[in-house]
Symmetry: C2
Subunit: 209 residues, 2 copies
């Protein structure tokens, strides 16, 4: 069985974490092909052969990183529950996603890089696990629509639009900062974004009355 995790010493645990942290930094900034093992090794403070002692191949690092990423990345959507008030649920989903873009921009960019290149390594997971999860949540949302709790619309595209608008602040950060300029591009931009998105998703742009 491959499933059984190999026994690891304390040093192996620590060094592997160190490498993954360094690799996240490098991969998210340069993409997979744009990153070299030497860069990662240097960022992790070790020599290239030393790094290759812990991860046999460059791709193994990327794969491990990607597997871990996906769990945390989809956590907010998993939390979307049928319990509370629908509009409140959606609002807090948007808020959580935006917080992830703010707190884990490297993870967001790593993911974006992978998708942009056609998701060669995670396509099966997108068509399997991810699709299942989204379909499930889309059904929940549809229930809310039938109950008249939120406006009728396409739940899948609704989810896409939440992903797009929130991740934009991580993936396109350089552009957002450049356009907002020095004064408005500071730390406050995420609060501005949160306020804007809340209004957009709840009320749209039509003037009141």
């Amino acid at each position: 069985m491959e499933g059984s995790a190999p026994r690891r010493t304390r040093i192996q645990q620590e060094k592997r974490e160190l490498i993954l942290e360094a690799a996240l930094e490098v991969f998210s900034a340069n993409g997979f092909r744009g990153s070299t093992i030497d860069q990662i090794a240097e960022a992790a403070g070790m020599s290239k052969p030393n790094l290759l002692y812990y991860f046999r191949r460059k791709e193994d690092i990327h794969e491990t990183l990607m597997q871990r990423l996906l769990d945390t990345w989809l956590a907010p959507l998993r939390e979307l529950d049928d319990i509370g008030d629908p509009l409140t649920e959606l609002r807090s989903y948007i808020r959580r996603k935006l917080e992830m873009a703010r707190d884990f921009p490297r993870e967001s960019r790593l993911f974006a890089n992978e998708i942009l290149q056609g998701a060669p390594r995670i396509k099966p997971m997108l068509e399997g696990e991810l699709k299942t999860l989204v379909d499930e949540k889309a059904a929940v949302i549809k229930g809310w629509m039938r109950a008249g709790k939120i406006a009728r619309t396409d739940p899948w595209h609704l989810i896409f639009s939440i992903w797009a608008t929130t991740q934009h602040y991580a993936d396109f950060d350089v552009q957002v900062r450049a356009v907002l300029g020095a004064d408005r591009g500071g730390d406050g931009r995420f609060e501005d974004a949160a306020r804007f998105l809340e209004q957009l998703f709840l009320d749209g742009l039509k003037p009141k009355g």
Copy 2:
């Protein structure tokens, strides 16, 4: 002066176009560092040294491509005018942007790649030309808000959200198709997206009445 375009023969014009078309295909699929001159040369149906006769360096191809891209890419925003009805103007801006994502996905991905990597080659343009244009259009939108034609909100983030939601269908195409599945991921997805986005931006998610 660098500004004066070098004299070019008819063959040079044609071959350069051929190379740029091939490079767009390759760069948008693999990123800058992930693409090789050989790949581009093969896609353009010529030998590597021959390609290098028309573009001295790999970076020159990318730069030329990027410069051309930006004009066409920002055209929809430039068209956003103060003349017509504000809501109609915004709606048709969204529609135009979505059509660009549908008709020019390679250009969208090329741009996304560049921004994701920190926009090393076009940052000055983002902070200059792009910021100026967005600020100008944000002022127009603010005028509409003051006149009570659309709801009051942050015009910059509104523009970001339009960019994010529309380009998502080009940049994250693989994911969108995977999640929608074979039946709904076909050609109709852009029309579904258009309908959804129109509703989102105009009315939001609150149920009527």
